[in-house]
């Protein structure tokens, strides 16, 4: 079991030793590949170029951990930057504690505004807001009727004016109506419009002016391609929106348009709409979108997981101990716990690049980690620090105490010794051991 594993780790680690620092040369291929990935995910041509250039500048010269290749490291940096960019100034919806909060919903035709308006209404009602839906799409046939029916489904009042063609007046009047009726939140659903339609853009500007919204949300179909930059920019220039809503994410689009929009209009994604049912509204997770755009790279999630979970200080300490060869059972236990924190061992291993197939398929049982943990926990402080004192009777006591067999205990101690030997070898080979290797593996 574990014994086997350590041997295999050792081999694998040798295979995937680090390559010093990131250079133009050792990341060129990966960057080219990532550019392509971004373009395939509908990230705008210019945005992708700029983004990759920026990341490259930041990445050059960075030290490469022993456990990853330059390509993997730069991928991770890209992922981090992407997450940062998408998350940025991310904050929720602004809701006024007093008075009426007005939320104006804008976007292109067919982007999902009406459905989202109803979802948001339901969501805010759950947050104890008193919501009014305003039907200000006076153009699309039966748009008003659609909102009315959705409102009825979620028990939200809908403000509409039969036969009116004056969206500005409807919007303005709905706020008066809300105040009169003790409603503190108004969501205004507007007609879809193209950013090049001057007349319609004038209308949305007039609506905004008339209602002075607390929030303007730009609703965009996640399947949108390269042109997202143009429509978002134009909408932003006209109505200056506060946030983005990404819809139809229950499909399989990669959602690169969100990055494009983010790049040209520095506004956060505030909601995700992922389904036709009215409870499918979600808060936005930048990291999830980042991996979606990158195609859910396994490497990225591995590096990410490891990075997140390994407490750097603890790692440093362990490293020092390894170097001075004072690696005891307490350290062993810490390491086991780190591995456990990182999730299933097997799924982690499957993601480690360079590990050969045999190892990836090796039957590694997370339960074994539990056994190891329980054995170490049954040791006294003294025993953990000084494993040499573990004689026969102590071993028997530990076995009984931890509910394992004496063989299990013996095996563990043998493995510990192997491990110590291995550490020594590492130390002699390289002089420097980066503990993230062990955290990872």
């Amino acid at each position: 079991m574990l014994e086997d594993l350590t041997l295999k780790f050792e081999k694998a680690l040798k295979k995937i030793t680090g390559q010093g620092r990131l250079t133009e040369n050792n990341i060129a291929d990966t960057l080219r590949e990532i550019r392509r990935v971004l373009l395939d995910a509908d990230v705008n041509y210019k945005v992708a170029k700029q983004f990759i250039d920026d990341v490259k500048q930041k990445a050059l010269g960075r030290e490469v951990l022993a456990s990853v290749t330059p390509g993997q490291l730069v991928t991770k940096i890209i992922y981090d930057e992407l997450t940062k960019l998408m998350g940025g100034s991310s904050k929720g919806l602004t809701l006024n504690p007093t008075g009426v909060t007005v939320i104006l919903i804008v976007g292109l035709q067919g982007s999902g505004k009406t459905t989202f308006s109803a979802k948001l209404s339901r969501h805010l009602t759950e947050l104890k807001r008193k919501v009014l839906l305003t039907a200000a799409d006076v153009y699309r046939p039966a748009a008003v009727e659609q909102l009315k029916q959705l409102g009825a489904q979620i028990n939200a009042p809908v403000y509409s004016v039969e036969g009116s063609q004056d969206a500005v007046k409807i919007a303005r009047d709905s706020i008066v109506y809300a105040k009169k009726n003790g409603l503190n939140t108004v969501i205004i659903d507007t007609a879809g419009r193209l950013h090049v339609d001057e007349e319609m853009m004038r209308e949305i500007v007039a609506i905004k002016k008339a209602v002075n919204p607390t929030e303007v949300l730009f609703v965009v179909d996640s399947m949108t391609g390269q042109d997202a930059v143009n429509s978002a920019k134009a909408f932003h220039e006209s109505v200056e929106f506060d946030g983005i809503v990404l819809t139809k994410l229950d499909g399989d689009s990669r959602g690169g348009c969100a990055l494009s929009i983010r790049a040209v209009v520095n506004k956060p994604v505030k909601f995700i709409s992922a389904g036709e049912k009215l409870d499918t509204i979600e808060i936005f997770h930048p990291d999830r979108l980042a991996s979606r755009i990158l195609g859910k790279g396994d490497i990225v999630s591995l590096v990410e997981k490891a990075q997140k979970q390994v407490d750097e200080k603890e790692a440093e300490e362990l490293q020092k101990k390894l170097l001075s060869n004072k690696f005891d059972f307490d350290d062993f236990l810490k390491q086991i716990r780190m591995i456990k924190k990182m999730g299933s061992l097997k799924s982690l291993l499957a993601m480690v690049p360079g590990l050969n197939k045999a190892l990836r398929n090796a039957d590694i049982d997370d339960k074994q980690l539990v056994v190891v943990e329980s054995i170490i926990q049954s040791m006294t402080k003294e025993e953990r620090r000084n494993p040499r004192i573990l004689n026969g009777s102590r071993r028997r006591r530990i076995a009984r105490g931890s509910g394992n067999s004496i063989q299990d205990v013996n095996r563990l101690i043998k493995q510990y010794k192997e491990m110590q030997k291995m550490m020594k070898r590492f130390k002699n080979n390289k002089g420097m051991i980066n503990l993230s290797n062990f955290g990872l593996n």
Partner: protein, 310 residues
């Protein structure tokens, strides 16, 4: 009618902006040197990718153009852009088929099923199609197969009133296959020439909803052996690379016979159709250029490519 030519003008204007940029770029560098400048190639790449043409296709076509350019003696005089345009036109030309309208007299009623993701423009396009067919003297009947979305019936009903065609519908929540069945039955009785069946928008990733489409199609075939004669996929012109996946999936369940690209009155160029056409062997039938009843143009490969580049 004025709105129609307005829209066309708008479409062309938008596209001309692109043209000016690229054509000056190319003629400058080509007349100067015999070799294509890397900058020019990059510029072309940018224009194509910014139009949502798939990366792989861009690479392939640029490579082909390079080779062709190399084979020509008078390289400096060759207009690289013409070569590239021809390549793109060829992709579309390969899949050009005759208009469905000339077949209307051979099948009675001629049946068209319209499918697509949510908000693509199916219902509006159906109204526009019905209008075209009606104006050519055919009796049209529309089946309101979107029994799911709120007010879908009402929306189609309003369009029916505007165009002057009858709509068959059932109440929300009914089985769309039943609507399809009933529409065909009525069409047979009432001597209808063309039947168009609307369907609820659905994401191609939802297996059960895609199966539902398959079922609608089978039911149509049971009532009338030749039905549906056509299955049109409506794709939002703003869509990026996902269009190919959409087309692939819809084709699996309904064997598409044509594409309709909507919302080309904006600034999106619809370049993703090249991968759809070439992978799935289906022609583009129409393009939507507005929300008005006349804003549907018959697809013209030459113009479309011209529009990409000017």
């Amino acid at each position: 009618m004025s709105s129609f030519s307005d829209k066309l003008k708008k479409l062309k204007e938008g596209l001309n902006r692109t043209k000016d940029k690229i054509v000056t770029q190319i003629s400058e560098s080509i007349s100067g040197k015999a070799i294509i400048d890397e900058d020019v190639l990059e510029e072309i790449e940018e224009i194509l990718i910014s139009s949502d043409v798939n990366y792989e296709i861009v690479e392939k076509i640029i490579e082909k153009a390079r080779v062709k350019l190399r084979e020509t003696k008078e390289r400096s005089k060759v207009n690289l852009i013409e070569i590239i345009k021809k390549e793109f036109e060829e992709i579309l030309q390969n899949y050009k088929v005759e208009s469905e309208i000339i077949k209307f007299n051979d099948f009675k009623p001629y049946v068209i099923l319209v499918v697509g993701v949510n908000g693509a423009g199916k219902t509006t396009t159906i109204a526009k199609l019905a209008n075209i067919y009606k104006n050519k003297g055919f009796k049209v009947l529309i089946g309101s197969g979107d029994t799911f979305r709120a007010a879908a019936n009402e929306q189609l009903e309003i369009w029916g009133g505007r165009v002057g065609v009858q709509i068959v519908n059932k109440k929300q929540g009914s089985d769309p296959s039943a609507v399809a069945f009933e529409t065909l039955s009525i069409a047979k009785k009432e001597n209808v020439d063309v039947v168009i069946i609307d369907t609820a928008g659905r994401l191609h990733t939802k297996h059960n909803l895609m199966e539902e489409l398959g079922k609608i199609k089978r039911v149509l075939g049971k009532v009338l052996q030749h039905a549906p004669n056509d299955v049109f996929l409506v794709v939002d012109g703003n869509t990026g690379q996902n269009a190919l996946v959409q087309a692939r999936e819809f084709s699996k369940f309904t064997q598409l016979t044509g594409l309709i690209i909507t919302k080309l009155d904006g600034t999106a160029k619809g370049g993703m159709v090249f991968s759809v056409c070439s992978e799935l062997n289906i022609p583009i039938k129409y393009v939507g250029v507005g929300e008005g009843i006349d804003d549907l143009l018959e697809f013209n490969p030459n113009e479309f490519v011209q529009a990409l580049f000017g």
